[in-house]
């Protein structure tokens, strides 16, 4: 492994460490921008969906992976963002305003749910957000005057300065731009005092407080940012599905979002994106091999959710670092090749630590 030679404190504040990683990310971005020129419409559409879930994943990662607050209600934020964007567009608001507005309104809802749940931690928070998500889901279904109820809500094709953002390509580029922006802002947050305060709260609330961190304010901000980002993803999701159904923003979707951050690896933005990729690609992979599986396994109706469940269980049991943890270990393995020592990657034994008290 080659460590860059450090000559100043500012160097530690740059996002890309060393010229190698700067080039790698530039190439990645160029490839992403060029993909629609090469791939067919179906794949471009699916990749757009992947980006949208990656955005939602980053939003949840800031909350769960970095602030240590679990939300099992983020599907509600996705839903609020989707409906806000769709409704504003239908009322003639331009896309460049309706999408940020969707993010802002969702952020407001995030703070709204964040404030009363501030005193809760861990388990209680998970249950409370679960309840919140289910209430919002019901509201979306029953408030048919606004949301169209069970008939759903048709989403208009957005346009920027008269230029229509149409089809799979439109969603793809819109989602890619938002994703890059969201990742950039998240990275900025993480290298700023706010990001450190979030990590501090995750690791020890009591000493975070003694360091001058206002728990209530920081947690509310974290909730707001997470919800806002998820709301942006929701706004784009509306264009991805083109017809909103209220029951698609249910507990199952919330759990999928949390699964993204868990499978990806808690406490890493890479993880959120890896997780989203995994979550979106697995169904495609299953569809591809479905007919070739022995014993008619491919025809079983519950195959997909049970596979997700199984993978989630296996990840938590055997690789709590998620895909990102595996990735880091692989990198270390190749960097040290052939001098790799096994114990370096061994998980430290952890002991039961009470979380009943905070």
């Amino acid at each position: 492994m080659i460590a860059p030679f450090k000559t100043g404190y500012a160097q530690d504040l740059t996002l890309a460490k060393g010229p190698g990683s700067r080039i790698a990310y530039a190439v990645l971005l160029a490839v992403m921008a060029a993909i629609p020129l090469v791939l067919g419409e179906f794949y471009v559409g699916e990749l757009g969906g992947l980006f949208i879930f990656a955005i939602a994943g980053v939003g949840l990662m800031l909350l769960t992976g970095y602030t240590g607050l679990v939300s099992l209600g983020n599907a509600a934020f996705l839903g609020i963002g989707a409906y806000t964007n769709a409704i504003l567009l239908a009322r003639g608001v331009p896309f460049l305003i309706s999408l940020p507005a969707a993010g802002l309104l969702t952020a407001f809802f995030g703070v709204l749910i964040g404030v009363p749940t501030l005193r809760m931690s861990g388990l209680y928070l998970a249950i409370a957000t679960l309840a919140f998500g289910s209430i919002i889901g019901t509201v979306l279904q029953k408030w048919d005057g606004l949301t169209g109820g069970f008939d759903g809500f048709a989403v208009q094709t957005p346009s920027i300065l008269g230029f229509k953002i149409e089809g799979a390509w439109g969603v793809y580029y819109a989602a890619l731009i938002v994703l890059v922006l969201v990742v950039w802002v998240s990275l900025n947050i993480l290298r700023s005092p706010l990001g450190r305060a979030m990590v501090a709260i995750r690791d020890s609330e009591i000493s975070a407080q003694s360091m001058g961190i206002n728990l209530a304010v920081t947690k509310s901000i974290a909730f707001g940012i997470s919800a806002g980002i998820t709301g942006l993803a929701g706004g784009l999701y509306a264009h991805y599905v083109r017809h909103l159904a209220p029951d698609s923003f249910d507990i199952l979707l919330s759990i999928q979002l949390v699964t993204i951050v868990f499978i990806g690896g808690l406490g890493s933005l890479h993880g959120a994106i890896f997780g989203a990729a995994f979550m979106r690609l697995l169904p495609q992979a299953i569809a591809m091999v479905r007919d070739d599986l022995p014993f008619g396994l491919g025809q079983l109706p519950g195959l997909e959710p049970s596979l997700f469940g199984l993978i989630l269980v296996l990840v938590i049991m055997f690789e709590p670092g998620g895909i990102n943890g595996r990735w880091v270990k692989l990198k270390a393995y190749f960097a040290a090749f052939p001098l790799h020592r096994k114990p370096a990657a061994r998980r430290q034994k952890s002991y039961a630590k009470s979380e009943r008290l905070r």
Binding site: T138, V313, I316
Partner: protein, 294 residues
């Protein structure tokens, strides 16, 4: 007079549903008190218990009591195995990792049940199905609901005696309160924890069997588990009588909301109760606040 009767009817119905919530919540609380884990798959375990009972009684034509008893035992054994094979391995991981783990298990159970028993609703005949009891001519109650309430009370009595009188029950209480001390006293803490999982799975199976006359079993029955959270939280998440009282209260409030409020409210009642309790009185009705010492 009619209003009073209706109120009574709603209360009994609510209390019966509430007993089911309470029993599921009891399962949460038993496991939480002992291991600090929350089993989000508790509802799914109940669903499995219902299907097992259906297989034994409905399909194999076993005697109701015999088949039910066997189903409870099988489900309990399943709970034991679940802890021994899966959950024991994640002790020491953050609490919400366990939450996600059990959610993953819930997915697997649901899909597994779909594969094994199909996606149709099933039921079987019980001694209480479609039978009525008359009280003084005017009041007519279904035996099905009464059997749920009666069964719950009976089960609680048995559990109370078990925890307060038997060696194993006391060992379980000791392990819940202080794992290390219990271990030093020669209690096999890990096995005790697995047994607690077994009991909680068994209780879930009892709930499933009691519910059969009222509601058919299908793969989505486990959704009751989410309502049971409201019960457990209302009771203080850690108090066994609290879970039951919380369950009954949630059940009654839900029935009342369904009758007196516009449609849509019944579905969210339990969630609103849950949020309200968490915001206004996070320690629940019976809980106490303990703070971390530094």
């Amino acid at each position: 007079m009619e209003d009073v009767l209706r109120l009574l009817q709603l209360s009994i119905n609510g209390a019966a549903t509430g007993c089911i919530y309470g029993l599921i919540a009891l399962g949460f609380v038993l496991i939480y008190k002992a291991t600090e884990m929350v089993n989000f798959a508790q509802g799914e375990i109940m669903m499995l218990g219902g299907f097992i009972a259906y297989t034994l009684v409905g399909k194999f034509g076993m005697n109701y009591w015999l088949g039910s008893g066997l189903a409870v035992l099988i489900t309990a054994a399943f709970g034991y195995a679940l802890d021994a094979l899966v959950l024991r391995r994640v002790i020491g991981q953050p609490q919400f990792a366990v939450v996600m783990l059990t959610l993953g298990l819930a997915f697997i159970f649901r899909a597994g049940a779909g594969i094994a028993w199909g996606y149709d609703s099933v039921a079987f005949n019980t001694p209480f199905t479609n039978k009525l009891v008359k009280f003084g001519g005017d009041v007519v109650l279904g035996q099905d609901n009464l059997s749920i309430i009666f069964g719950t009370v009976l089960l609680c009595g048995v559990l109370y005696l078990f925890f307060s009188r038997t060696r194993l029950g006391i060992a379980m209480q000791a392990s819940s309160q202080n794992q290390l001390a219990a271990y030093y006293m020669g209690i096999p803490v890990r096995r005790v924890f697995s047994l607690i999982w077994a009991i909680s799975a068994g209780v879930a199976a009892v709930a499933a069997i009691l519910l059969v006359p009222v509601q058919m079993v299908d793969v989505n029955s486990g959704i009751v588990g989410f309502k049971a959270f409201a019960a457990a939280v209302l009771g203080g998440f850690g108090s066994i009588p609290g879970a039951l009282v919380g369950g009954v209260l949630v059940g009654i409030v839900e029935q009342m909301a369904g009758y007196y409020l516009p449609t849509g409210f019944q579905e969210v009642t339990s969630n609103i109760v849950l949020l309200a309790v968490l915001i206004l009185r996070p320690q629940g009705l019976f809980g106490q606040v303990i703070r971390k010492r530094v």
